[in-house]
Amino acid sequence: MHNSVGNTARLLGAALRALLVLTVVTGVLYPLAVTGVAQGLFPGKANGSEIEDASGRVVGSSLIGQRYDLPLKKGEETPAPDLKWFQPRPANGLGTNSVNTQYALILSGATNRSGEDGALHNPRTGKAYCPEKPAEGTLCAQVLDARAAVIKDNSVPGHEVKPADIPADAVTSSGSGLDPHISPAYAELQVRRVAEKNGLPVARVERLVQEHTDGRILGFLGEPRVNVLELNVALRELVAGK
């Protein structure tokens, strides 16, 4: 009995020492070495890919999506989008600062809503469908609301946006809630509105979007996309210099 207790204690001692030694190797030396190399070779990227505008002011990260909203008015719960600027994807899942109240850190997160969320079943066909007025907060409602807003915001006199023209990314939230990109189709859809609000020719804004459209990496990786922050930075310069 005494012997087995002693053996167990010895074994746990060895286990603890193994953990501590490996913690030094993988938890201290390894991250420090990688940080050293990363800061030496790619300092910009290792520190968050910050981008500056023409005046040299940091305006965020090219990797982190931002909101382009008007200041919150009295009585409003969520601010209205500032339609002068290209708008990002909806971010219904982006949480608030729910865990730690010390900071107002940006928090990443998705809605986690299913494709059935808010749907009703048609007893005749057995199929599920989104009703015209789905329960508030459900994915059916979020998509319907986003679609109505996209149509309302982007329809200019003589050009009505049709539901069929709206790409999926314009009405859905991303996984991180910080998606820095929109699809070229969604950027294209916003061109007329942005041109009108900024008093620019449509063709000029169209060219700006094309200049900021990235193709697939190596031609086949990922999807074509437009970085909204970079596009808006270029747009601001264009407006200032017109």
Binding site: L20, L22, A38, L63, L105, G177, P180
Partner: protein, 554 residues
């Protein structure tokens, strides 16, 4: 180019990269675990541990090493989180509550990385880098060590000895995981993943004002999170967060890292048992299932079934623009067929069938190709069962790799396959029957049931991904999922090592005309059939209540 074609090309590029790495890495790992030389740094480490790396261990001693090391790991990580409030380098974050600290400690030691916390808002540098990331390395090395011990059980005869746990653990970290991680981490930073020790700082915004970021050793943690099939994200959004997975190239690279070691271990297995063909048969089984699941997932996600997705014009909810549907579907299958559980899109927002594929992938026991080490030993257990079933059909004593599969061996294998279903179905049933756990569901009905089934499946199979709609940070879920993760990791290891010890003692039987040729495609077919039957019979009723009901309705 259409998105579908681009997706197919990405899949082909992934297969090509895995095929290129297969032979060199598999052979290298076989040498690592067969060599009797020690590197100088390893000798220092053994001195620090106070262990003799050349002392052979019987299965009981090997198991005691695994359990002692893991128990100490749980306790250390628990205390580290509880002490966070007074540790330096914690960014001012407070101590983690006891139930959540237990859950997280169990989760990372069990190679599960289920997370009921928000990384960027709860864990400081010390806990993330000095605690969680360390377990990413060592829990993966423990998994590989146990798999190697089982392979030695097949390869050795008339000895009960399975190698030395401390040597296998240290070599896995020093010679395999660390070098690959250093290269991979730098590659990820080159793509845009962050790697710094900045505190919480303000960064200007386009519309004025500022946003708050926390820095961190993200790339170095991201790479081992995928390579060690761990899955615990630095940020809440895991690999969907642009700082963890900045573009489509890093995305494909991360999928490659997830699958790299589990597939290559089949080559290691073939080398160590002295027949590469036996390794190819196992590889064929794993790759077949993986390709089938990937194809189905691509199809259902591109089809975008589900009323809200049809309304939106595509299943882009919870997916990032830069990855698109193909990059998300490939990741989703790789992470659930291994024990990784990292996500780059949110599985709760997959189509009904897509979510079902994720669930089924984990319920297969994560053996195609499975977690590092755990995938190989899980698949070898299935092979033992398949050989046994074949033996029953022709009425002769089954044998596998020259070892008789007798009563003792089949008992261990049977116990192994019973553990996880018992945990998953038992805990799910209790959670559904009790009044309060159900309050954690985000979605109602069949999808809500799937959330809870998914949570226990993910925990007991040591996956760690979530149908994240479930609010899992309650005392009930923290405690029960924590227990499911520990039992789901270490009980199977007991049976694997017991089986290994039993096999290693045997005298090999020479192959005869009546021996089932386990290196032939016929056996691969039999093995896939066995897996499907066992999993199907176990989980079909539960799947019918969740994803199947949902998929058929839409």
């Amino acid at each position: 180019m259409s998105s579908e074609l681009a997706g197919l090309l990405q899949l082909l590029a992934l297969i090509a990269a895995l095929a290129l790495a297969y032979r060199p890495l598999g052979d290298y790992m076989a040498r690592v675990y067969s060599s009797d030389k020690h590197l100088r740094v390893e000798k220092w480490i053994y001195k620090g541990i106070g262990a003799d790396p050349d002392a052979e261990m019987r299965w009981t001693a090997y198991l005691r090493g695994v359990l002692a090391f893991s128990a100490v790991g749980v306790l250390f990580l628990y205390l580290l989180q509880r002490a966070q409030g007074v540790l330096p380098g914690s960014l001012g974050f407070v101590a983690i509550d006891p139930d959540q600290a237990f859950n997280t400690a169990a989760s990372f030691v069990a190679n599960t990385n289920w997370q009921s916390y928000y990384g960027e808002q709860a864990m400081g540098h010390v806990v993330q880098t000095g605690g969680l990331a360390v377990q990413n390395f060592v829990s993966a090395a423990v998994g590989i060590a146990v798999a190697v011990a089982l392979v030695r059980g097949f390869a050795r005869s008339r000895t009960g000895e399975l190698g030395n746990f401390w040597a296998d653990l240290v070599r896995g970290v020093v010679r395999i995981l660390l070098p690959l991680s250093v290269i991979g981490a730098v590659a990820l930073v080159a793509c845009g993943a962050i790697q710094n020790f900045a505190g919480i700082h303000e960064v200007g915004q386009f519309m004025g004002g500022s946003q708050q970021w926390n820095g961190g050793a993200v790339a170095s943690q991201e790479v081992i999170k995928e390579l060690g099939t761990n899955g615990g994200g630095y940020f809440n959004a895991n690999s969907a967060h642009p700082f963890e997975n900045p573009n489509a190239l890093s995305n494909l690279f991360e999928i490659f890292l997830i699958l790299l070691i589990p597939f290559a271990l089949t080559r290691t297995f073939g080398r160590m048992v002295g027949s590469l063909k036996q390794g190819y048969a196992i590889l064929g089984t794993m790759a077949g299932i993986w390709l089938l699941f990937t194809g189905l997932m691509l199809w259902t996600e591109f089809a975008g079934h589900g009323p809200a997705f049809e309304l939106a014009g595509g299943a882009m909810e919870g997916k990032e623009t830069r990855f698109g549907i193909a990059g998300s579907a490939l990741f989703s299958v790789a992470t659930t067929l291994t024990s990784t559980g990292a996500v780059n899109s949110f599985h709760s927002s997959n189509t009904g069938f897509g979510g079902g594929i994720d669930l089924l992938g984990m319920q297969l026991g994560e053996i195609a190709p499975g977690g590092v080490g755990s995938g190989l030993y899980g698949m070898l257990i299935m092979a033992v069962i398949a050989v046994f079933l074949a033996g029953l059909m022709v009425g002769r004593t089954p044998e596998y790799l020259g070892k008789k599969i007798g009563t003792r061996e089949i008992k261990f294998a049977a116990c192994y396959i019973l553990v996880t279903p018992a945990l998953v179905l038992g805990f799910t049933a209790v959670a559904m029957a009790l009044p309060t756990p159900g309050n954690s569901m985000t979605n109602a009905g069949a999808h809500g049931f799937s959330e809870i089934l998914y949570a226990y499946t993910s925990g007991a199979n040591n996956n760690g991904s979530a149908f994240a709609g479930l609010n899992a940070d309650t005392q009930w879920f923290n405690s029960t999922i924590g227990i499911a993760m520990l039992l789901g990791r270490f009980l199977p290891m007991v049976f694997v090592l017991a089986l290994a010890g039993s096999l290693a003692e045997q005298q090999p039987v020479p192959a005869s005309a009546g021996t089932l040729r386990t290196e032939k495609p016929l056996f691969t077919g039999l093995l896939i059939g066995t897996i499907v039957i066992i999993t199907g019979l176990t989980y079909f009723p539960a799947l019918a209540l969740g994803p199947l009901a949902e998929g058929l309705a839409s």
